[in-house]
């Protein structure tokens, strides 16, 4: 494996790992809890929940 190969691999893998880690970190530990959504909590599919 050439030096250029190491550089290409480290930069490419490093970039996507950093991007994924940073954005997941913001989602999981950011100001808005990852479990929270403002949309409706209830699910009504009209025919699958006993209605």
């Amino acid at each position: 494996m050439s030096t250029g190969g190491w550089i290409t691999m480290i930069l490419s893998v490093g970039f996507v790992v950093t991007m994924f880690g940073w954005s997941m970190g913001k989602v999981l530990f950011g100001k808005e809890p990852s479990e929270k959504l403002h949309s409706l909590d209830s699910i009504d599919t009209r025919d699958t929940n006993g209605e």
Binding site: M1, G5, L11, V16, V17, L37, T45, D47, T48
Partner: protein, 539 residues
């Protein structure tokens, strides 16, 4: 309130991100990307790849999330409904037909491929059917027989074992989709995506510790395998190759599932208090992580270690996945386990994608035709079963699958994505689109993306589409300048047309016409609802 009946919703932000990421992460992440990077020289390829990620992938992704959520606030969750509200013209809703037929038609053949990987996972874990020795020809022969690529109608013959796997994955898909958005798709993706990543990490560790398995062939080492994958080659020369840019942009484009009709539908179940900027970026980066950090480190290096560069030459996505890799795992110590894990993770990647292909159709039938979920699932199940049987029956040289994939899974997606980015940047207007995207946003999109999303993305997309048509339809040879129409054209109108290709295109036309008629019906329903609200003075 637009619709009197409370419809579906996501229950958590992480859930919707994992569902979108699940839709994006598919077989292409682990089988197609590594092959392309190695083929074109990874240095130049990764430059074109990350440029495309910035200009095409993330930009269109943000536009799609934003437009979907915007229309969802108006009460629409299906692509025709979304375009009905985006384009205030009687014809607007018909543009949305692409957002339904693309996922529905792709499902018809994708679920078949899903059955292949499910079968391979089963064979590795519970049988020794894939212990076929060290000759790749044996694996090729097995695969061709397994999928019936020798003759049409193998379904009716004795050897059609894959049909049982197809039946199983079809049923699992429809059980999950029947449970709904939150209790079905979201619940499934919340465990499937972490499981997929965990399995991939275990297989990655195994690959990275392979060393030099055959001391007689010291050049076939892991380090050389990584070099085969990542050595940059002649970057300057390679960057001048238009085919490289087409391959890189196409990989980003199809891998992220933009222009598919899925993201726009999923995002429509969010409110404008919910973030779409960080969520869109996170889902995209999850896809990139699986593709570059996992797919890029596993597939090609592992194959090189056992087969060398010669064994990898000329292998396409299916060749790599269903001929080379089974050989690699069968030669590896405890290969049955790692092979089983690898194909099971591919199965998870495939099923989280196929599930997402059903929701746009379900959403349309519910809100456009007023069907219950049970009725929608039944109707879509019938429709996709017919299409899938067509693909399975006409299995010779996988011609039906390939034709549907080309015209719907590629050409239609280009058109849909162009519509989305042009609408966002020019019809809605970049300033209004920008404000809409930032409602409830946790992070801000860097300002330079205004220029990218308004000018560069449409221009780049149209250029790539033009290159695609030149190469893959007209068969342009940049070296000679000659045009030789590809088989996708000559199969339809050439001197020796292919009946299966013609029937496949006829099937596409029938499906489009069928859905256009349903959309016309849905339009009447939506107009009636709007008139009722006006009469009642409702909002």
């Amino acid at each position: 309130m637009v619709n009197a009946i409370v419809k579906e919703a996501w229950t958590s932000r992480l859930g919707v991100i994992l569902a979108v990421a699940g839709s994006a992460v598919g077989l292409g992440n682990f089988l197609r990307f590594p092959g392309l990077a190695a083929k074109y020289g990874s240095g130049a390829f990764m430059i074109a790849y990350f440029t495309s990620l910035l200009v095409l992938g993330i930009s269109i992704c943000w536009a799609e999330w934003t437009l979907g959520r915007y229309a969802g606030q108006k009460g629409f969750h299906s692509s025709p409904g979304i375009f009905h509200t985006l384009i205030r013209h009687p014809m607007g809703k018909f543009i949305g037909v692409l957002g339904v037929i693309i996922p529905v038609v792709i499902y018809m053949y994708y679920v078949y491929i899903e059955a292949w990987v499910a079968g391979y996972a089963y064979y590795f874990l519970f049988t020794d059917k894939l212990s076929l020795g060290g000759d790749v020809a044996a694996y090729k022969e097995f695969w061709i027989k397994y999928i019936g690529a020798n003759e049409n109608g193998f379904l009716l013959s004795d050897g059609g074992q894959v049909i049982w796997f197809l039946l199983a994955v079809f049923v699992v898909n429809f059980i999950v989709i029947f449970r709904g958005l939150a209790r079905g798709i979201e619940f499934f993706c919340r465990w499937a995506m972490p499981a997929l990543i965990l399995l991939a990490l275990v297989v990655l560790v195994r690959v990275l510790t392979l060393g030099t398995p055959n001391p007689d062939l010291p050049e076939q080492s892991l380090i050389n395998g990584l070099g085969f994958m990542w050595n940059p080659g002649h970057v300057g020369d390679q960057l001048l190759n238009p085919e490289l840019w087409l391959a890189a942009a196409g990989q980003i484009f199809f891998s992220l599932s933009v222009g598919f009709g899925v993201i726009i539908t999923y995002a429509s179940y969010l409110t404008d208090k919910d973030d779409v900027v960080l969520s869109g970026l996170t889902a995209s980066s999850a896809n990139e992580f699986c593709e570059v950090a996992l797919g890029g480190m596993i597939t090609v290096p592992a194959a090189f270690v056992f087969l060398g560069a010669a064994g990898l030459a000329g292998q396409g996505t299916f060749g790599l996945g269903f001929q080379v890799l089974p050989l690699v795992f069968s030669q590896m110590p405890v290969g049955w386990l790692f092979g089983g894990m690898f194909f099971f993770l591919l199965f998870l990647a495939a099923i989280t994608s196929s599930l997402s292909m059903l929701q746009p159709g379900i959403a349309f039938m519910e809100e456009g035709l007023g069907l219950t979920r049970k009725q929608s699932v039944a109707l879509l199940g019938l429709l996709t079963s017919i299409g899938c049987l067509f693909v399975v029956y006409f299995s010779k040289d996988i011609k039906a699958l390939d034709t549907l994939d080309f015209w719907v899974g590629t050409v239609c997606i280009f058109i849909m994505a162009t519509v989305i980015i042009v609408y966002f940047g020019w019809v809605m207007g970049i300033e209004r689109g920008w404000r809409e995207a930032h409602k409830g946003a946790d992070i801000r999109i860097p300002g330079f993306f205004k220029i990218i999303m308004r000018y560069l993305s449409p221009l780049y997309l149209i250029t790539i589409f033009a290159l695609f048509v030149l190469f893959n339809v007209f068969g342009w040879n940049p070296q000679t300048g000659a045009f030789t129409p590809t088989s996708y054209v000559s199969d339809l109108v050439g001197e020796h047309p292919n009946d299966v290709a013609r029937m496949s295109v006829a099937l596409i036309v029938v499906i489009i016409v069928f859905f256009l008629m349903l959309i016309a019906q849905a339009g009447k329903r939506w107009d009636g609802q709007a008139a009722d609200r006006k009469k009642g003075g409702g909002s």
